[in-house]
Symmetry: C2
Subunit: 585 residues, 2 copies
């Protein structure tokens, strides 16, 4: 028998550290358990004892062991990969699992063991002593493991090993020091909800096959519209596969609203349409215009002020210019929370211009929408209630697992008219229930993944106030970072002033560059600093933060905080780590 | 203490049925366990003993109990919802879970209990004695439970209850008698992989944040291209959010290939483009044309033969007609496995015409692509290797959990040129690794859900031969159904001949209609039969199968079989059930 450790279910057995004479110890108990038949004794022992490599004294705070099912093996291989006698995965295949007859036992064992691997990963994700990433170059990773697909099945032992290996090389996106993307963190309720979603394995197109999820989408979108400020939460919406698609929906609906004939006749039947968005806006506006046959040349980029906010005077100038050319302005996409600076466009001024020139007002609040949950910060989106459509990604600032992006539309029924094709095999008109719940025909997609449940369950678990607390905390951390570095030697801010969102943009200037004059050579050298520090971060695996150039500004760090696990100490760590890794450059 | 039962981990304890005098029994063992501190005794007892409602003699084949953590409660409430003493969910909230300090214990307990609920659902899904659906009308479901979102958090006991309630009303899409959609079944390895995907919670746009998943996408798409028959598996591709989007990608890329200037200039810069697809094809072709600014009028529907296959002569006639009008044919989308009839268009003849007229050949094999895995059935897709692009949804015939749809493109680099926008904050050009693995810029989406892992892991677990066996079995079951009903009293086939895919289309004619002449009145009455039987199926919850009208054919049943759990007996049951429910109509 292995030394006592922390098994799958271990929640602390402070006095059970292996004394065979004490009937209250794990070891003594295990000896009793061995008298059970049916393998349950081994199973329960494995729960008490972790794998054979555990130290004798366990604090109970160790991560659960994915390998606990192998505890009773006495082979010479280290690490041993022999399965337990009662469920020998080496002799089991996918065909032995449900729906196979007698598939229930191996299925439950297998899914439990997968769960053990996942729980181990979850616990490690939050452990600052583990790496954010165990980085390997693509060619290394391709050589290190056989990822190829073959004709013959592999046994379940191999399948469990693949799960472990996959997670070994994964980025711990929930790690307290992972700041690389707008979507960070790992919410436990959201994760549970996503597991449930996978298990329910259904599709959003009809009430018939997703009754609860369709209702929850209805309830949740209505709540989001209320928060935006549309009267009674009226309007329409959909959860789409990401903010880029949500923005594309907005463009599609705006065009249809102005020229419904475009649906049948195409762009040939309409005048040249022009969309406006800021030069700091997300690239998906141009991507959408290219896809929709509008063309990227018809997306006019409006100038921003030094903080990255759209300048309304430039917007008006460009609208007039387009009209003078005989083009038709059909959409302004204001950004609430730009990707790099976290800037909020002046929505009220934009709304006035959209009203004046009768243009569809879209707000891309993919990143900033979360601030609507905060009484302290929602003023930054003042005017969003005047938008015709809003993109809002709960998978970003609200910490919902990926993917969860909503497009909200003020006018009800427009999405349906724009996209419906009346497929009779799916949206039968003679069903026995209220067909208004068959929402599939308003989507661009046919089948649509269930993205709502994780948001709904998290909202129940946190309440609006819980999201508010999370957002206020993240913004407070960003301000903390800003206050530390704004006057610290070796740092230069990309723009002045307190961050409006959690984006903090800065250069780290290594000592060797501090003495240089502000000329081209310095810029050229400075542009190489962030990429090297980032590469080192990844190779050490200690933290991850993004960098990029923007306009005439060379590579700078863009720190964003949406991770609920991050603390002041993690911010301190980031600063120290940047200095440690960049000191010699 | 409750009576012995089948707890979360129960795999049979045949002799441990509660004798307190026998030291080898569960009860005696539990008494020993109680001496442990830290709550582990209670926990381990709960593993041995299920909840208090279990009968004394357990076979071990019972579903795991989600409520096992409540086993020690002695309250009067039935069903009791009191949590166990050591983890009292009523006093715990989301804020007590990780990343909270000391959050590890409640997190592990909570996630384990969620898993208990999920495993119970999984086991029930395969149990023919349970309902496929516990149907409620939308207004009933809205009233039966409070689904609203509020300001204040709910405790974890309530959150666990929501999970149970959500699954109570869910459709068991893995149930052996669920035949309603093209995507049915619940694969255990696929499910495990989807749980892992949720846990890894990352995004496909860069190697930086999804190294393994990006490589697996590369490996898997290459393998799929090899199976299609492109030399060395060369080409391109992407996993997209469903077949409709995959088809839209094909249309987008075909247009770009012919007129690259459309990306910047829009549809105004190009002649009128015409796409061709059969009258039985999927509505997403028209939906895509509407979105892309091509217009639905520019999608020409080609006539089909009585089996639903596109007639090549009609295709050629319509191509010539379009050219005579000065329009530009740019895409033919042939269907390999139509949605209703399961028909395969004659791909070789289509390929010849596409070659002759220099038109992009797309094959929508969303439904039929799976047959490429079968040596017996892949001839039905002969000619697919000549396509320029192929849609293939492993989430349909191959049983991969939703969503998993691939678009494969023959020419490498085209997707990238078509969609790239060079966002410098995401696709930095000075990263330290091989940038060809940053695949995000070839997508329409920015963030993209990880859809590949479940397919990859299932492929490892089954091998190509395992998918083949599944597909051959489903086709054999469809033929079995066809052979039973083709000459059975009360059935009429919608088209003659053995099914080519698993689609079997038929009318059930109740006795009262069998005596009627074949006139309009009979048609009108027949059209009402399938909707009533379907409504009754859902109210009884015994089985689910789809129906629809098509062209001049009134409502008929479309049986499809992709469910790995279905057997000959389930087919027999379906026939008996249709007759039981429709006898009196």
């Amino acid at each position: 028998m292995a030394t006592p450790g922390s098994g799958f279910w271990s929640f602390g057995s402070e006095d059970g550290s292996g004394d065979p004479e004490n009937p209250g110890t794990a070891r003594a108990w295990c000896q009793v358990a061995q008298k059970f038949t049916g393998g349950i004794g081994n199973k329960l022992c494995a729960l008490l004892y972790g794998d054979s490599e555990k130290p004798a004294a366990s604090s109970g705070s160790e991560p659960p062991r994915a390998t606990s099912r192998k505890a009773t093996c006495a082979c010479d291989q280290k690490p041993c990969s022999c399965p337990k006698a009662d469920v020998n995965y080496a002799f089991l295949h996918a065909t032995d699992l449900l729906p196979a007859s007698d598939g229930e036992r191996p299925t439950l064992a297998f899914l439990q063991d997968v769960m053990g691997i996942l729980l181990q990963y979850v616990v490690k994700s939050f452990d600052r002593s583990t790496k954010v990433i165990d980085f390997h170059y693509p060619n290394e990773l391709l050589q290190e493991y056989n990822w190829e697909l073959g004709d013959q099945p592999q046994n379940l032992e191999e399948i469990l090993m693949h799960c472990q290996t996959t997670l070994k090389y994964a980025i711990k996106t929930g790690h307290p020091r992972y700041f690389n993307q707008l979507s960070t963190g790992l919410d436990m309720v959201g994760l549970a909800a996503d597991w449930l979603t996978s298990t329910a394995n259904t599709n959003m197109f009809t009430y018939e096959i997703a009754p609860v999820f369709v209702l929850l989408e209805y309830v949740t979108l209505k709540k989001m519209r209320e928060i935006i400020g549309w009267p009674g939460g009226s309007g329409d919406g959909i959860f789409s596969p990401g903010g880029a698609i949500s923005n594309m929906y907005a463009m599609l609906i705006a065009r249809f609203k102005m020229f419904p004939e475009v649906k049948e006749k195409g762009m040939a039947a309409v005048p040249r349409l022009i969309a406006f968005t800021s030069e700091h806006s997300h690239f998906s506006l141009k991507k959408g215009a290219a896809a929709l046959g509008i063309g990227t040349d018809s997306v006019i980029l409006i100038k921003c002020d030094e903080r990255g906010k759209m300048i309304p005077a430039d917007l008006e100038r460009r609208i007039l210019e387009a009209k003078q050319k005989g083009f038709v302005p059909f959409l302004v996409s204001a950004t609430a929370g730009t990707t790099v600076y976290g800037a909020f466009d002046p929505l009220l001024a934009v709304a006035d211009l959209c009203k004046k020139y009768k243009i569809w007002m879209h707000v891309d609040a993919a990143w900033g929408g979360g601030l609507l949950m905060s009484r302290k910060h929602k003023w930054k989106l003042s005017g969003v209630e005047r938008a015709n459509s809003v993109t809002w990604n709960p998978h970003k600032m609200m910490g919902v697992p990926l993917q969860c992006s909503a497009l909200l539309v003020r006018e009800e029924g427009l999405m349906q008219s724009c996209n419906q094709m009346h497929a009779s095999y799916l949206f039968q008109q003679d069903k026995h229930y209220d067909l208004s719940y068959d929402t599939g025909d308003k989507a661009l997609q046919c089948g649509r993944h269930v993205d709502v449940f994780k948001l709904w369950l998290m909202w129940r678990a946190k309440g609006t106030t819980g999201f508010e607390a999370h957002i206020d905390k993240c913004l407070e951390l960003a301000e903390y970072l800003y206050n530390i570095i704004k006057n610290r030697e070796g740092y230069e801010m990309v723009f002045d002033g307190k961050p409006q969102h959690t984006n903090v943009c800065f250069w780290y200037v290594p000592p060797s560059l501090r003495v240089l004059e502000d000329n081209e050579e310095r810029m050229s050298r400075l542009s190489k600093v962030a990429p090297v520090i980032k590469a080192r971060m990844m190779e050490y695996g200690t933290t991850m933060v993004s960098y990029q150039p923007l306009g005439d500004k060379v590579n700078f760090f863009r720190m964003v905080i949406s991770n609920p696990a991050a603390t002041h100490q993690d911010i301190d760590f980031l600063i120290e780590e940047i200095e440690r890794l960049g000191q010699d450059l």
